[in-house]
Amino acid sequence: MMRVWDQFLDYVSDPATWTGPGSFWSRLYDHVWISVAATIVGFLLVFPFALYLGHIRRGSQAATAVVNIGRAIPSFGILAIAFLIIVEFGIGGVRTPWSVLVALIALAAPPIFTNTVAGIQSVQPATIEAARGMGLTEREVLLGIELPMAMPLIMEGMRIAFVQVIATATLGAIVAWGGLGRYIIDGFAVRDNGEILFGALAVGLLAVVAEVGFSRIQRAVTPKGLKVVR
């Protein structure tokens, strides 16, 4: 126990951990940007379609199916398949971030899709009738009524997607990409407990910070009128 702690302190106090190309900061940067990019692209890919499906009150079965299928496919498997496709079709080399990015987009999209459809459909039909009765156009109903009221669930989907993406970006180290997972995979390879522990804490903390941070955003974008209900 004490030895592990000493190894950890050794690793933390080593200047090489903090400076240079493989430094903590550059790995953190890689990890965060790929996660943010994947979540944004995933959002852009499915959001308009999900919005439309929700508005015409369809696609709830598709949304359920997406959740169930998504859960059954291991994220490690999605990463592996993305790697296979990218390398096989010569889109990107082995050490490029493309396969990781593609896998992360595929992981980010389903929760955003499902929660957007569910969020729009959770708006009471009576509310929409009232809005139509007041003379709002379909566009105004969607953007002025349904979208704000669905906001908590949509942001919940974004949060689930982002935290999942942060977690899976760690596995990117297995397919030779960088990010914070490198510490863990490299640490396993050379059996350096200090490095392993450093990576574990870095990744764990990042995930918790992402989760907590996103919950804050989620609360901020919830319309005032809905906060009372929750």
Partner: protein
């Protein structure tokens, strides 16, 4: 175009599958035992924690807070956190996998028990049930569909997470995924992914069947 097509025709090398049937069976067993032990132990701990929650309600936020925190930690990080202490072992895998099931299971068990209609409880009281009998004969059976939903989610999630234990020398079907990645042998990789999805689906369907036989009154309404 044709070289790419020719390559993808050979994505699955069936002779490899035939030659490695023994190992596939071994890894199936490994995947099943890791999943079974983790969900089983997770269920025992969750039932214990639920009993605490039902007796002392104020403990619920801290228990869900703590198990939620465990749930947020990425699997690779949790394995890595344990490896310096428990090594590259089954113990490491089972501790981590078990801790992921807790959040899902406790939330569903508590929600299930809470969802039992007040009128049913009053009817039971009126029929002279003791508190204990009411709990086991009324509340638990009525909560069963929600509890089983939790067990299904926990099981399917665990089947997926077991593949990641390949990095600590286990992995079940994840072993094939990792090997396939490292050697660029797509057959192995695809076999690993497909079998993992198949196992998750089969277990999910098995639990649906079990739940239907245990709570016949809930048939149709799900």
């Amino acid at each position: 175009m044709s070289p790419v097509l020719a390559q993808s025709d050979q994505l699955i090398d069936w002779s490899w599958v035939e030659r490695n049937m023994g190992q596939i069976i071994d890894r199936t067993w490994e995947h099943l035992t890791l999943t079974g032990i983790s969900v089983g132990v997770g269920l025992l701990i969750s039932v214990g924690l639920t009993i605490i929650v039902l007796r002392w309600r104020w403990t619920y936020p801290s228990i869900t807070g703590f198990t939620g925190l465990l749930y947020t930690i990425p699997s690779l990080a949790l394995f890595a956190l344990l490896v310096p202490f428990t090594g590259l072992s089954d113990t490491t895998a089972i501790i981590a996998l078990t801790s992921y099931t807790l959040f899902i299971l406790i939330r569903n068990i508590v929600a299930g028990i809470d969802g039992v209609p007040e009128a049913v409880k009053e009817a039971a009281d009126g029929m002279g049930y003791t508190a204990r009998a009411r709990f086991w004969k009324m509340e638990v059976p009525l909560a069963l569909p929600v509890i089983m939903a939790g067990i299904r989610i926990a099981t399917v999630t665990t089947v997926g997470l077991v593949t990641v234990t390949a990095v600590i020398g286990l992995g079940g079907f994840g072993f094939f995924i990792l090997r396939g990645l490292n050697t660029f042998f797509w057959t192995q990789l695809i076999v690993g992914v497909v079998l993992s999805v198949a196992l998750a689906t089969i277990l999910d369907l098995a639990f649906i069947a079990l739940q239907r036989s245990l709570s016949p009154w809930a048939r149709g309404s799900r």
